[in-house]
């Protein structure tokens, strides 16, 4: 049993503030690595201990260097009235996906975390585990100026937008529950619109900050669809040719009448919010990015079926597919644009792919697995990229940091004139989960913060953190990026572990289920027998 490690990271603005997620909570750290605030995205109200601090106090705390937990719970309250919390919350991501499937009724082997594909049917029968009300954060992004944070919680598929005051305090603005579990999100260039890609293959555009009339809801498209659904008649007695089908047709008609009534009620009950369907793949989306060329915006979407699609980025023209970047042999799971005209993508393939995305032309493949084997003791023959992070070292070349699932290293690649070359490997004490670059004011070197899962190493996990925070260090490691490429090879854990342990201990298997989902995207070998049927 161990608590979840810190997982997702993002920099908030240019003042060295780091935002990170653990379970369903967000934590912010100041430039001096002290904890500023903790914000729970679920179970609001219940989390507030008696000593809830006032607004101005945490800054004092930051000054004297004593990190303290300052729940921002009360700030979150007002929004509750506008968006009621979703009905069901589950902590278990697997339970979520399986129950989502049974609700949708479509077998999507990709959402099954099991690596061996043959046993899907059995897996599906697994009953979802209704658990404590703590959905995990599955995505975390911030605007470039750090004014807003977007966190998505799994389980309840909710997109939470929080406002950041510039000092590390977060205020929840909105919670919007999506129909399908988001798999990635990004912001448009003007940072006013969220693009949310989901497991069902669709991309929705949501205003970052929903305006009042938007949230009122009857979306015109939705209303249209509603009316069509009510008007349609299904098969008629000229379509079906057997007695049995005829009977079920009559049954259907009866059910439909009831449903129409229910829908009417639902329409009144369920508050909707503005969301526009931009585009969709018939495959699980894994990554979304925005790009621009010749002053025009584009949306790049990657899916589990090896595709990268380039669509126009104006919301009214997103239906126009400009081209595809085809060449991956396995799923694509991460993309980044180190230079405006270059796309680097990675996934289940052994190499990173460099594209002229505008033309849909593969420029080069750069080995990844080879370096992982040579430098990071990877023994298997496959690798799954979990993240690609472009950064610019002050005064130096552009870099891309690549991390892979269950590989204790960061692979550093140099970007020069549209070409990617392997530079070096930074070995780590645990499995990297996410990377963020923090620019600390007054410091030359920028900080690369890596969240690590050290669970496998330290089976003797320290008991609930004691009052002295210095004894327990979080799994957030810092690696300084200087002019010279990684002058210092060792990453150091400098961020403290926040006290006030509201983090539940989970069995290792549960933790792994939350942290490691990418390798599960890989297609498994099917028996021809089972594949033939349906």
């Amino acid at each position: 049993m161990a608590p979840l490690p810190f997982q997702f990271l993002c920099a908030l603005g240019q003042d060295g503030i780091l935002c990170t997620s653990r379970g369903d909570s967000l934590y912010t750290f100041a430039a001096d690595c002290s904890l500023v605030a903790e914000h729970s995205l679920s179970s609001r109200g219940a989390a507030a201990p008696d000593g809830a601090k006032e607004e101005d106090e945490p800054s004092q705390v930051a000054q004297n260097g004593l990190p303290e937990v300052t729940p921002q719970v009360q700030d979150g309250e007002p929004s509750e009235s506008s968006t009621p919390p979703p009905k069901r919350r589950k902590v278990d991501s697997e339970a979520d996906s399986s129950s989502a499937q049974s609700a949708v009724g479509i077998v999507q082997p990709e959402t099954q975390p099991a690596a061996n594909g043959g046993s899907q049917k059995k897996k599906k029968a697994q009953k979802p585990v209704e658990a404590t009300e703590k959905p995990c954060v599955i995505l975390l992004k911030a605007t470039s100026n750090g004014s807003h944070v977007v966190a998505v919680t799994g389980g309840n598929k909710t997109v939470c937008v929080l406002e950041h005051d510039g000092k590390g305090h977060l205020t929840e603005l909105s919670q919007r529950q999506m129909v399908k579990r988001p798999s990635d999100l990004t912001l448009t260039a003007d940072e006013k619109t969220l693009l949310v890609a989901d497991k069902f293959g669709d991309v929705y555009a949501l205003p970052l900050i929903p305006s009042a009339d938007d949230s009122l809801g009857e979306d015109s498209a939705a209303a249209l669809q509603e009316s069509i659904r009510l008007a349609r008649k299904g098969a008629n007695n000229l379509t079906v040719h057997t007695q049995r089908n005829l009977r079920s047709l009559e049954e259907q008609a009866r059910q439909r009448a009831e449903k129409a009534k229910q829908q009417q009620e639902q329409k009144e009950a369920g508050p909707t919010f503005k969301q526009d369907l931009l585009l969709g793949h018939v495959s699980m989306l894994t990554s979304i990015a925005v790009a621009s060329a010749d002053g025009k915006p584009y949306i790049l979407t990657a899916d589990r079926d090896e595709h990268i699609r380039v669509s126009r980025g104006i919301l009214s023209m997103a239906h126009v597919i400009e081209n595809f970047c085809l060449g991956h042999r396995a799923f694509v799971s991460a993309m980044c644009l180190p230079e405006p005209d270059r796309l680097v993508s990675g996934g289940g393939d052994n190499d990173l792919y460099v594209w002229d995305w505008k033309a849909g032309v593969l420029k080069s493949k750069v080995p990844l697995l080879r370096h992982a084997k040579e430098q990071a003791n990877v023994t298997g023959d496959k690798i799954a990229v979990t993240g690609l992070y472009p950064c610019n070292v002050p005064g130096g070349a552009g870099l891309i940091m690549a991390i892979c699932e269950r590989v204790k290293a960061v692979f550093v690649y140099k970007v020069q004139d549209g070409d990617l070359t392997y530079a070096e490997t930074i070995n780590l004490a645990g499995y990297p989960l996410d990377i963020a670059f923090i620019q600390v004011p007054g410091q030359q070197q920028s900080r690369m913060v890596i969240s690590l899962d050290q669970g496998t190493e330290t089976s003797h996990h320290s008991s609930p953190p004691s009052s002295s925070s210095s004894s327990s260090l979080s799994g957030l490691y810092v690696h300084l990026l200087g002019e010279e490429l990684s002058a210092e090879k060792q990453a150091l854990p400098v961020y403290p572990n926040p006290e006030g342990g509201r983090v539940d201990d989970l069995p290792r298997a549960e933790i792994e289920k939350v942290l490691y989902t990418v390798e599960n995207l890989r297609k498994t070998e099917f028996d021809d027998v089972t594949a033939g049927g349906d």
Binding site: G280, K523, A531, G532
Partner: protein, 283 residues
């Protein structure tokens, strides 16, 4: 299931026998190739598909259209194996007409002689059915060796909903037929329908401006759905009734598809709608 093994054995025997007689002119029997009518388009299956349109080798499907080796430009100095491979498999012309979900191939076989200078391809997700159509075409080619008919038609197993862009370049096709698709009545199955707002963008990609999407179904509900979604899509406009009437392909589609004949026998209705691919808006 009783008799399953027996059935399997019979099918295997039948296929073996067919494969042994070269240039068989006898048509395959449908009963050896039946397969349940529905396939899950979201499943991975065990599909073979090219990495990209450039990697697709069409020559096994249209052997008569393979570029003669003499016509090929002299193998240039480049020893690039990939380029050589592509030259080896280069075609004199590209597939231009696509039947999505071709089933047992009634439309393909009827269209091919009417459009002798175009390459017609059927795509079908069910292995057994694809095999039947391939056998059917093999027999027809053998029967018409003198006239060289049916060389311009073929069939391939594919999941078009996932992999259409792997097979066809932007604007490669001039006609797409969607005939009697799986209605997927349940609302939660609607993403599995072959016509949807998001999928239409992919049809628009592979279809050249001016190209036509032909739809036909016996389910009025599905017809309305397809009309709604294609009309709403900015890349398509509905073709007028008059133009629809005069299109020769509409007649073939209505009468020659297997499903079309079945509906005819049962005196059912057929709903036809055609949509034209518009130019992409400038930006």
């Amino acid at each position: 299931m009783a008799g399953a093994a027996n059935k399997k054995q019979k099918r295997a025997d039948y296929r073996l026998a067919r494969s042994q007689q070269d240039g068989a002119t006898e048509m395959p029997k449908k009963k050896f190739y039946r397969q349940r009518a529905h396939a899950n388009p979201f499943s991975d299956h065990q599909l073979e598909y090219p990495m990209s349109p450039e990697d697709m080798d069409w020559t096994p499907f249209f052997p008569a259209y393979k570029t003669d080796p003499e016509e090929l430009p002299e193998a240039t100095a480049s020893n690039d194996a990939q380029i050589e491979q592509r030259q080896q498999s280069s075609m004199r012309q590209d597939v231009e007409i696509l039947d999505i979900g071709c089933g047992f191939g009634g439309l393909l076989v009827a269209l091919a002689p009417k459009l002798p200078d175009k390459l017609v391809l059927g795509m079908e997700i069910r292995t057994q059915v694809t095999e039947f159509v391939q056998e059917r075409i093999r027999s027809l080619r053998a029967q018409h060796q003198d006239s060289n008919e049916f060389q311009n038609v073929s069939c391939i197993r594919a999941n078009t909903m996932k992999f259409l862009p792997n097979f066809f370049k932007k604007g490669q096709l001039s006609k797409i037929f969607i005939c009697f698709p799986d209605p997927h009545f349940k609302a939660r199955k609607h993403k599995a329908r072959i016509v949807s707002t998001t999928l239409n963008s992919e049809y628009a990609l592979v279809l050249r401006p001016g190209g036509i999407v032909y739809t036909i179904t016996d389910v009025e509900d599905l017809h309305n759905w397809m009309v709604h979604h294609l009309e709403l899509h900015p890349a398509f406009e509905r073709v007028s009734e008059g133009e629809q009437e005069s299109d020769e392909c509409v007649k073939i589609m209505t009468t020659e598809t297997e499903e079309g004949k079945k509906v005819e026998r049962n005196k059912g209705q057929k709903f036809v709608a055609l949509f034209r691919r518009l130019e992409d808006p400038p930006w």
